[in-house]
Amino acid sequence: MGRYTLRRLLQLIPVFLGTTFLVYWLVWGLREDPFAGKCGQRECSPAFRAALTERYNLDDPLIVQYLKYLGAVLTGDFGQTFSGTEVSTLIADAYPITIKLAIVALVIEAVIGIIAGVVAGLRGRGFADTLVLVSTLFLIALPVFVTGLVLRQVLGVDLGIIRTSVPANPSIGELIVPGFVLASLSMAYVARLTRTSLIENSRADFVRTAVAKGLPRRRVVGVHMLRNSLIPVVTFLGTDIGALMGGAIVTEGVFNIRGIGGLIYRGLQQQDIATVVGVVALLVIVYLVANLVVDLLYAVLDPRIRYD
């Protein structure tokens, strides 16, 4: 397993370089004039241009620019925005909030999704099953911003249970509704995946064996059916971590949360290239590491899988 992990970590390097270069090239290399519109209606002054050209090494060939940027990033220096703020400061402020939100969402998604899936899968055709199928279909059909806006309107404005705008340093409690919104789509998938997987496993030979052994029903379900059924669910949850962080843009926008979603959104809007590249590079790392962790976890859950 150690060698496998090492090999996988080494594989991260070309993937990281490839993706970050692509992003870098998209935002810097594809624009004719990176300063267009930066100084209001007027042309930017030559002094300003010169200063920024110097700051972002714009006179170098693109690949050299990228390598210089990469070198700085690896020492923790994400550069500065056009207005001179350190990007690393912005990230350090925004990231913890997004991580908190993603964790709240992940917990909601896992707990509610799995419970709903188990209830639906075990009861067979009936009210619970239909309820779960219909409500998950509902969540899947609704775009996240609709779910978000509706909940904000109903819970925030009409009922006044939550604040429509989440404060700068939100507590877990204040993130529950946004977390639910962020998790809603994946939660529906988790419920359906758990249900299908459980139904499939309930017909498995080893479940019949467990029944034939005379084990109590609770144990047949809880030990023999559930563990096998949750393998694909855990895989899904793991890969979803990255998506929850990157996908928080809409949710953070709806609830005015100052996380990296908002940071990317503002960065794109203001064409603040350094911010966008920095945040995306970090997201790429999160995705890659989450994927690696899932693959390793897979071997823990299913002993038939061996990495060597």
């Binding site: 030979d205 080893f206 034939a212 052994k213 005379g214 038939r304």
Partner: protein
């Protein structure tokens, strides 16, 4: 005294309406303590469904028990309290399955799955239960049991896996073991070892063994009595020697003739039973075997033959059973069949 297990006129259907498949149409057999009953028949003849009904692990629905009785030591099991039936499973009756790889849970160690019996049926601690699991693996002659108890099913070879399965089924010392094609998935040399092991364990423990198989060679060596099933019914029943020497049903004879023999001339054609078993949703009128029977006459098409006593605890469901019994076969001993 009541027999250990008695199945009487058991009827099971699957599905509804015109699609209804009559899987069991009045199966009767019994097993006594310490004896081996072989249940022989092609796929779909209802051997496994009967066993699952006895164990109480048949999926209901889609299955539906429409009649008959299953008695264990005289106690009626059909309609009994589910909790009572659960307690009988493992403790009084146990079952092993054809494919041990899929019948064992892939994500738990073999030891865990055996120890489970002791922990949750006997209340033993995890440690004591594991020690008992090692003993069980020893009993089924798995070498290095202490080590292997920690391994997963996929790390076992086919034969070892079936041994582990046997160990698991015998953990609570049941009086009846139902083995559903225990050697079908194994290669021939291993088959013989597993059969020997089962036979030995049966003798040591004095338990009744229901051996479900379609392999005549397997049956010949170990079975005391044989019940031949066709289309959800027992069509012939006798002790092993009688059945091999004087089969009363053309189907039984067909099964025997379809096994190639050592004294066959090389290149001689095989002698399969022509045709296919009937669809259970449309079992032919009269004798269900008549479309495939070389001896069928008009009466076979119209009249269902009853399972008739032919003397000496030999029954067959054929209108002309006496004629076939009198003809006999040219098989002097069962052992030649085995070596074939």
């Amino acid at each position: 005294m009541a027999p250990l297990l008695e199945v009487e006129d058991l009827r099971v259907e699957f599905g509804r309406g015109p699609e209804t498949a009559s899987v069991l149409n009045g199966v009767s057999y019994h097993v006594d303590e310490g004896e081996t009953l072989a249940v022989l028949g092609e796929s779909g003849s209802g051997k496994s469904v009967t066993a699952q009904t006895v164990m109480g692990i048949l999926d209901l629905p889609p299955g539906r028990i429409t009649g008959g009785a299953v008695r264990f030591r005289g106690e009626e099991l059909l309609g009994a309290d589910p909790e009572r039936r659960r307690l009988l499973r493992g403790e009084s009756m146990a079952m092993i399955f054809q494919d041990a790889l899929s019948a064992l849970n892939p994500v738990y160690t073999v030891g865990f799955q055996i120890a489970e019996q002791f922990r949750f049926r006997r209340g033993l601690s995890r440690r004591d239960a594991t020690a008992r699991a090692v003993e069980m693996l020893d009993q089924v002659r798995i070498p290095n049991a202490k080590q292997r108890v920690k391994e997963y099913p996929h790390q076992f070879s086919g034969g070892m896996r079936q041994r582990a399965m046997i160990a698991m089924s015998l953990a609570l010392d049941p009086e009846l073991l139902i083995a559903d094609e225990p050697t079908t998935a194994l290669d021939v040399t291993v088959q013989a070892q597993i059969m020997d092991l089962l036979d030995e364990l049966r003798r040591e423990r004095g338990m009744g063994l229901v051996l479900i198989t379609h392999d005549l060679g397997v049956v010949a060596e170990v079975a005391d009595r044989i019940a031949v099933m066709y289309a959800g019914r027992v069509v012939e029943h006798a002790d092993a020697a009688t059945l091999y020497a004087r089969p009363g049903h053309p189907y039984t004879r067909g099964l025997m003739d379809s096994v190639p023999r050592v004294d066959d001339v090389a290149g001689a054609p095989l002698r399969p039973i022509p045709g296919l078993p009937p669809s259970l949703a449309a079992i032919p009128d009269g004798c269900p075997f008549h479309p495939r029977c070389a001896h069928a006459v008009d009466r076979c098409v119209t009249e269902v033959p009853a399972l008739r006593e032919l003397g000496g605890d030999h029954q067959a469901a054929c209108h002309f059973a006496e004629r076939f019994v009198a003809e006999g076969t040219d098989r002097p001993t069962t052992h030649e069949v085995v070596s074939g």
